[in-house]
């Protein structure tokens, strides 16, 4: 193996193509391949009838930007913008306005009520609903819930999606998408820190 091919996480983490951390990722070939396969399954799907690709990209841009203003958020913002610039701009505004600290939320569990915390909740306004429609704004509301206060997720949140026209299959994929992005963004962020704290190989003089 003389040439290493970068994948999405290598790029999001800013790994030097031949650096220690890029090589270290190759020691986990299944993790590396299946992480990329997960990404492909969600944003290059075999079948997107229940959750069209452009909606996936808009939700991805929203969910990653709510979490952080980082390379992963920029990546999905770019994909969303290329797919639908007008709606991507609205989604970006919604995301940056609703970015907040988490996880927070009220516990259902009686013994954990003392640990309940509160924070900024997201409710799409009329302008966003006019621009994006009920179906997509319902998805953004669910993405915000799962991203920053997942412990509050419950049947009412899914009823809202069903009422907005989401199918059960579509809800499963939406939940996978938002949840996967929480993983991918954190792997990239974690490996980026590891990369930056690992000394570069000595430069070989030309």
């Amino acid at each position: 193996m003389t040439t290493l091919t970068s994948d999405t996480v290598d790029r999001l983490a800013g790994l030097r193509p031949d650096g220690d951390i890029a090589h270290l990722r190759r020691r986990r070939p299944v993790t590396r391949a299946q992480l990329q396969a997960s990404s492909d399954a969600l944003i290059a799907p075999l079948d997107d009838r229940e959750f069209p690709l452009v909606e996936r990209l808009l939700v991805a841009a929203f969910a990653t930007r709510v979490t952080a203003d980082d390379a992963t958020a920029a990546h999905y913002a770019g994909l969303a913008s290329a797919a639908d610039a007008a709606r991507a701009e609205v989604v970006a505004g919604e995301a940056s306005a609703s970015a907040t600290a988490g996880p927070f939320g009220t516990y259902v569990e009686a013994g954990l009520r003392d640990e309940s915390t509160d924070g900024r909740r997201y409710e799409p306004g009329l302008a966003a609903r006019d621009a994006l429609g009920e179906r997509l704004t319902a998805a953004l509301a669910h993405a915000h819930l799962l991203t920053v206060r997942p412990r509050e997720a419950g049947s009412a949140a899914l009823d809202r999606l069903l009422d907005a026209g989401w199918s059960v299959d579509g809800i499963v994929t939406l939940s996978q998408l938002v949840s996967f992005l929480a993983f991918q963004q954190r792997v990239a962020a974690g490996l980026r820190v590891l990369e930056l704290t690992t000394p570069a190989l000595e430069e070989v003089p030309a």
């Binding site: 951390i21 270290l24 990722r25 396969a37 997960s38 949840s179 996967f180 962020a189 974690g190 490996l191």
Partner: protein
């Protein structure tokens, strides 16, 4: 799609809810209808990876999107079971339990606390994490892993060079630190998925 009506509603369950984090056997019920077992095709079985998973409501709900379920299952297994080198299994499970503790996923925390206790033989320390949360004192090596997992689980992501240095000082090499990152990050996927599409059920002992 405004005005769309549908007959599909979320499922109603009267099963008791857990009251706190626990290592006991927490159950789980889906909010949405699992895919019918008698309609599974080879594409679905490919998504399930292990055919016996067809008996699980959780996996038969997720199999509604077989491709992402398959990839998720394979990455999950590799992050936690591939222990030929890198971080010991117990500490991968500790990272998973810590992330679940922070997000508030009682189901995931119960499963991975059991694994962490089993592989480490330190059930007492695992119970401290469940009872007291991430500020529990578990010894420097475990504290460093828990702190890193919690920082990676926070929004915005708070994991930084100080966490890496603390892990290195505790004796972890870069592959092991990468394993901490992957295990904690993966539970930011698992917790959200588990919480989105269903809910935990109290262990039998709590309700008897």
């Amino acid at each position: 799609m405004t005005g769309t009506t549908t007959d599909v509603r979320t499922l109603v369950h009267d099963a008791p809810h857990p009251h706190a984090f626990t290592r006991a056997e927490v159950g789980w019920v889906p909010w949405l209808e699992p895919f019918p077992a008698d309609e599974l095709t080879e594409r679905h079985y490919d998504g399930l990876v292990d055919r016996p998973r067809a008996s699980s409501d959780y996996f038969r709900l997720l199999v509604r999107d077989p491709e992402i379920l398959r990839a998720r299952t394979l990455v999950d297994k590799d992050i936690f079971y591939n222990v030929g080198e890198g971080l010991p299994r117990a500490e991968r499970e500790l990272a998973a339990a810590a992330a679940s503790r922070v997000n508030g996923c009682v189901f995931c925390a119960s499963v991975h606390a059991r694994f962490a206790a089993h592989y480490s033989k330190r059930a007492d320390l695992v119970d401290l994490l469940l009872d007291e949360g991430i500020s529990a004192e578990l010894g420097e090596r475990w504290d460093a892993i828990v702190a890193a997992s919690a920082a990676l689980t926070a929004t915005p992501i708070a994991f930084d060079a100080v966490h890496v240095q603390r892990l290195r000082d505790a004796g972890l090499d870069d592959l092991e630190i990468s394993d901490v990152i992957h295990a904690a990050a993966f539970f930011n996927w698992a917790n959200r998925l588990m919480l989105s599409i269903g809910r935990p059920v109290a262990p039998a002992a709590e309700t008897s």
